[in-house]
Subunit: 472 residues, 2 copies
């Protein structure tokens, strides 16, 4: 057992232990060279009063093995319990969520018989950082954050994945006709990195039209890389239209750790284990297990979740299914396409390909001060608020939900109690100092206005790096 790879295994709750037993039995019979460290997570741990659902010793096991195979767990009802998945993902920097969505037609029903798409979803940022504020009676805000390193890591991973899995095309989805700065950055990084992979075709879609295309014609796609929120929606659509949502596995990949699990329900754990075997560089075992599984599906030996009268031949439980797969180890599928794994993408420490970015000159040129105000219309606000101008900063424009309302707003524009007031130097683009922002806030407060947040306006290398106002 000298060359065995240690992995951390959680048997989970409910049906978890049963399917984990079956999964481990199959891969070990197939010759997986693993050494199992079993940890306890989930319901029992939560109910012991540990809010994260995992004990410190279990973290140490993950730190040591860096590989986590996880059965479904139950989070008890009631407040205060934290999602184990979110914690693991955030704390260990599992930046890539990988989900193969494959049709197994005619053995599993689908309207899209030739679909074979891999969704690679950014896993750490976007609207999922959980940064939200209610600062007025009417308005609530959530921050969407997109970073250059975050974008570089996930996009590079997608191209490396494509190369190592013999895939021909990587498609990027985003909405940079609207979100010009955030989604614009993701698009730009995609364009940059795709240049390094001339052997892989690349293309981009606006996410609305692209989603429609994916729902209707998924066979047009191969590998898809996308920001967190779009990835959340699109990966569920892809799994669903493939007809195999209950069969699919999911990998969460980071530099220092990786976690493998079923997407929904439990049947996907074996395919998650196949992804794990590829990850720990045992592609021979992964190939053998996956092909035996395909052959079992083809032979119509189905568990209850995909059993269909007339298509399936035999309805079996978890143990019988595992026996059927084991009996087919060494066999290839006859109708479905056989798999053949090589190695997984390399996970080196992140190094920005574009570190020249940090040489850009950054200059403060203004500030957006947000007010909670409900004492009249936009014009009244503008006329009374412009008194706080001075000391090299003047009120330029006021918007409400992004629409310009002062000066020269339209009376038809509906206004909430949440106002953005932009201040810049009289000569636009002139650099200002942080102390001018502080003095401005002081005057705002003295004048009796309730400032609820600020956003500094910067130029990078002389170029305005904040969105212009519609109608300005």
């Amino acid at each position: 057992m000298a060359n065995n790879t240690p992995i951390t295994v959680a048997y989970g709750d409910g049906i978890g232990p049963e399917i984990m037993d079956a999964t481990l039995q199959i891969i070990q019979t197939a010759g997986a060279r693993i050494e199992i460290e079993r940890i306890e997570v989930g319901e029992k741990v939560y109910l012991r009063g540990i809010n994260a659902g995992i004990e410190p010793g279990a973290w140490q096991s993950l730190r040591r093995t860096r590989v986590f195979l996880k059965a479904p767990i139950t989070t008890p009802q009631g407040g205060g319990y934290k999602s184990l998945n979110v914690t693991t993902r955030t704390m260990f920097g599992l930046y890539a969520n990988v989900r193969p969505c494959v049709s197994y037609y005619p053995f599993v029903d689908t309207k899209h018989p030739t679909m074979d798409v891999v969704i690679i979803r950014e896993n750490e940022e976007d609207l999922y950082t959980g940064i939200e504020y209610r600062q007025t009676h009417e308005m609530v805000e959530s921050l969407k954050l997109i970073s250059r390193p975050g974008s570089e890591k996930i996009i590079r991973y997608a191209f490396e994945y494509a190369r190592s899995h013999d895939r021909k095309k990587v498609t990027c989805f985003m909405k940079d006709n609207i979100m010009k700065l955030t989604d614009g950055l993701f698009h730009r990084v995609f364009n940059e990195i795709s240049q390094e992979y001339p052997d892989i075709t690349n293309e981009t879609w606006i996410v609305d039209i692209g989603s429609a295309k994916l729902a209707d014609t998924p066979e047009a796609f191969d590998v898809i890389v996308l920001p967190n929120l779009y990835g959340d929606i699109l990966s569920d659509i892809a799994a669903q239209v493939a007809g195999s949502v209950g069969l699919a596995g999911s990998a969460n990949i980071g530099v220092s750790c990786a976690m493998f699990e079923a997407i929904h329900g439990s049947a996907g754990l074996l395919l998650a284990a196949v992804m794990m075997l590829v990850h720990i560089d045992q592609p021979d075992v992964a190939t053998q297990v996956h092909n035996a599984w395909l052959r079992t599906i083809e032979d119509g030996i189905h568990t209850y979740d995909i059993y269909v009268e007339g298509v399936s031949k035999e309805k079996v439980g978890t143990k019988e299914f595992a026996k059927a797969v084991i009996a087919r180890l060494g066999q290839q599928p006859q109708v479905l396409k056989a798999v053949s794994y090589t190695t997984s993408p390399q996970h080196e420490e992140y190094k920005s390909v574009t570190s020249k970015q940090s040489l850009e000159q950054k200059d403060l040129v203004g500030v957006d001060v947000f007010l909670d105000w409900h004492n009249g219309n936009a014009n009244e606000l503008g006329e009374s608020f412009k008194q706080v101008s001075g000391d090299g900063l003047e009120l330029v424009v006021i918007t409400n939900r992004g629409a310009k309302v002062w000066p020269e707003g339209l009376p038809e524009t509906f206004c909430t109690d949440h106002w953005r007031c932009r201040f810049m130097a009289p000569e636009r683009g002139t650099t200002i100092g942080h102390e001018q922002v502080i003095e401005l806030l002081h005057r705002v407060n003295e004048a009796g206005f309730d400032f609820i947040k600020t956003e500094n306006l910067y130029n990078f290398d002389g170029k305005a790096s904040y969105s212009a106002v519609q109608g300005e």
Copy 2:
């Protein structure tokens, strides 16, 4: 012509004038009681140097008629031109985008023959307010804004629409397991308003699973109401899987104005005009035109965009198609379901059903100060930054992309140059003053740290109204 309703009409660019002529000919032959004010928008106006693509006189026509029927326009290549749609939507408060997505099987090909879904998309807020900032070398931010009045207006509209169009169910999509404050508000308002419509079934779906369901089983839905971004993605999916994206019309409804147009391409203009006729309270004409159109589709008389060998009988141009529809005025479809319109929802001035909200007590209890910093690791930042604590505000926690990194962060957490530093009173929840925030910023600046933005933390009626930190 005394009781004619004035409407503003733009003939648009390219094929626009041809299909607008055909559309107006059909509805006027059917007896539409309208008086047309023709305005010029689009390419010619843009090229005349008017960046909004519409002249002041044309705005006046819209103000007068409050009804806008618009053919497709061309926006010239090159910078500086503003989207006429976005301007119209924002300036006139067109808060509801309404898109019927219907299958016309077997006359138009689709995998979902019985689909009949209406998507009602919030049109003014969410991530579409265009408020974005780049404040560090690595990070870009976009604001997602969800307001109570914005949510109330669109959700109420959806229920009124369902009632007036004899629909049985309204479904709400959101993601409040992640965006607890923003999507949580939308969900809560949906629950409140649905109580006023006991005759309409209501249900909610998390947007990822709901989207998968819509893509795979659209016949499970009736009316769907959702925030702007989800609506953008889902409405394109729904139109696509219905097979009728080129045939669909779209309405943008506000209190003071409404705009009707084709979704993609041009064939949908007639159905947009049908929606307009319902809106101006001529449901008799709308019913007659729509049924004649359905009969024409049934009879296999198809324009090039839906013509399919073997299904269609005759491929015709715009004029011939219009003639065919006119010849069928007064007829009903034989296979497809005939329509029968009554009146459209009422559009009263917005009155909050929940104005009690404004009585909540709002207390400032802290501030998140965001830094641009790249001189070391999280622990080094925390230990050196906590020196700015004082005057009743102390550094509580630092996060990077939402993950807690100080105190007691994990070394595996990947950090960008964008740090959120939370300050509160030593006794948490104690009310602080705006001047304390200003003094804090002063100390931050004196200590040589680059603060890039602030977000105040408030309690409403004693309840924390900002998101907690994961791992806190």
